[in-house]
């Protein structure tokens, strides 16, 4: 089943305009389109079998996390950290989302800063991209079972003026619970992810990683 959206809504989906620039009568249609796109973006992403080798070659040749922050030209890292959905999608759909990128066995590299955290992950890992829309935040970090709940060890990088923060981690198989920490104080769940009670009167977000086809549930 397919559906034809209004041309202005298509421009929105193409990233050519923002949700809030649309006339009121198109807001509902636009939000539905964004919601559908958000659902699609949560599905697994599969790549050709030769991608792993190309990715690791690029990692060795190019990027470092610091260069990314300096906004030089780390092609691979920018690809890894760039939001998979335009900022307006993230903002319109929810505050955050988790997206499976690719199953990779982290290979040897001479550049330990090339992939944040990835060099410390288990041999069979899935890279997961965490996204938070927090326009007013000065700092966003990620705390969870994968980093011993230390809020200071996994910062997100602000990747847009609109306030989209992201980080990509290699997570081993299993279920992981986490929360975003905004400005060092506010614990924020991922509204796009499943949640469980944390035992302390709050909720934890959950990401479950399976080795089968490198899936994130």
């Amino acid at each position: 089943m397919s559906r034809e959206f209004h041309p202005l809504v298509k421009q929105l989906l193409d990233g050519e305009r923002t949700l809030y620039s649309l006339p009121p009568e198109l807001q509902a249609e636009a939000q539905e389109a964004v919601r559908l796109l958000g659902a699609m973006d949560r599905r697994d992403v599969t790549f050709s079998s030769g991608l792993e080798a190309r990715v690791m070659q690029e990692v060795r040749q190019h990027s470092t996390a610091r260069r990314v922050r300096a906004n030089t030209d780390p092609v691979l890292w920018r690809w890894l950290t760039a939001p998979s959905v335009p900022p307006w999608v993230v903002g319109a759909v929810s505050a955050a989302s988790v997206i499976a990128l690719i199953l990779v066995r982290p290979g040897p590299t001479n550049d330990p800063e090339a992939i944040a955290q990835a060099t410390a992950v288990a041999p069979e890992s899935v890279f997961v991209k965490f996204i938070l829309f927090a326009p007013a935040a000065k700092q966003v970090t990620l705390a969870g079972t994968f980093n011993r709940w230390e809020p200071g060890t996994t910062p997100l990088v602000r990747v847009s003026d609109e306030g989209v923060w992201t980080v990509t981690l290699g997570l081993p198989v299993g279920q992981h619970q986490y929360a975003f920490v905004v400005d060092g104080q506010r614990w924020v769940v991922d509204p796009a992810a499943p949640t469980v009670d944390d035992g302390f009167g709050r909720k934890n977000s959950v990401v479950s990683v399976s080795l089968e086809q490198g899936r994130v549930m």
């Binding site: 699609m40 011993r148 499943p194 959950v206 549930m217």
Partner: protein
């Protein structure tokens, strides 16, 4: 002196508490870790919950309550899984997660009994826990996981269930209805056998 593997693991867990946890809490959690080791339970979830509580600034007594809850979940899951022949730590941890998401031990047992070589209990319980965490009620969660396994579909199909439920939810379907629809589709996948049995019952991967 050689340590049994699970005791060696507990030693690492203790090291993780050092410097981050008040001494009184560390002592109480270490006692729980010792009990867990004696029962063959994984200690990592206890350490994780302790560190989480400290990071979130929870009071010590509340942290201890939360850690004890995890301990009892692990113990209950290990007991019910042992009855089904599943003793792996990964299955126990996955079952504990499923319980924290809202499943009961009876649900854990039912799913574990349905699991087979091609659909390991740990994976099935991870999927079930994730479905429950998405808001799928217990009955629908168990029915969906069981139907998918019994249909003989590849394990990738099982793992994709939470994503499929989320996609349906994004389209406006309630979690229960989304799961029920997928379960019906899985049941429809069962081809009638010579005696009218479903293909899943004749799963060649079943040990």
């Amino acid at each position: 002196m050689l340590l049994a593997p699970h005791l060696a693991g507990q030693g690492r867990a203790d090291a993780r508490l050092a410097g981050r946890v008040p001494a009184s809490l560390a002592a109480a959690v270490t006692a729980l870790l010792d009990s867990a080791a004696l029962r063959g339970l994984p200690g990592a979830p206890l350490v994780d919950k302790t560190l989480e509580g400290v990071a979130k600034g929870a009071p010590t007594d509340r942290i201890l309550v939360a850690v004890r809850t995890v301990f009892h979940q692990l113990d209950a899951v290990a007991t019910v899984l042992a009855e089904t022949g599943n003793t792996g730590a990964d299955a126990v941890e996955a079952g504990s997660f499923a319980m924290s998401a809202g499943l009961a031990t009876s649900d854990i047992g039912e799913i574990a009994r349905t699991a087979d070589r091609a659909h390991p209990a740990a994976t099935a319980l991870l999927v079930a826990g994730t479905l429950a965490a998405l808001g799928v009620p217990r009955a629908e969660t168990v029915a969906l996981v069981r139907a998918t396994i019994r249909s003989g579909r590849p394990v990738g199909d099982l793992v994709s269930l939470p994503g499929q439920v989320q996609a349906a939810m994004a389209g406006g379907s309630p979690p229960a209805a989304a799961a029920a629809g997928l379960a019906r589709a899985a049941e429809a996948h069962l081809a009638p056998g010579p005696r009218g049995k479903g293909r899943g019952q004749g799963n060649p991967h079943k040990p």
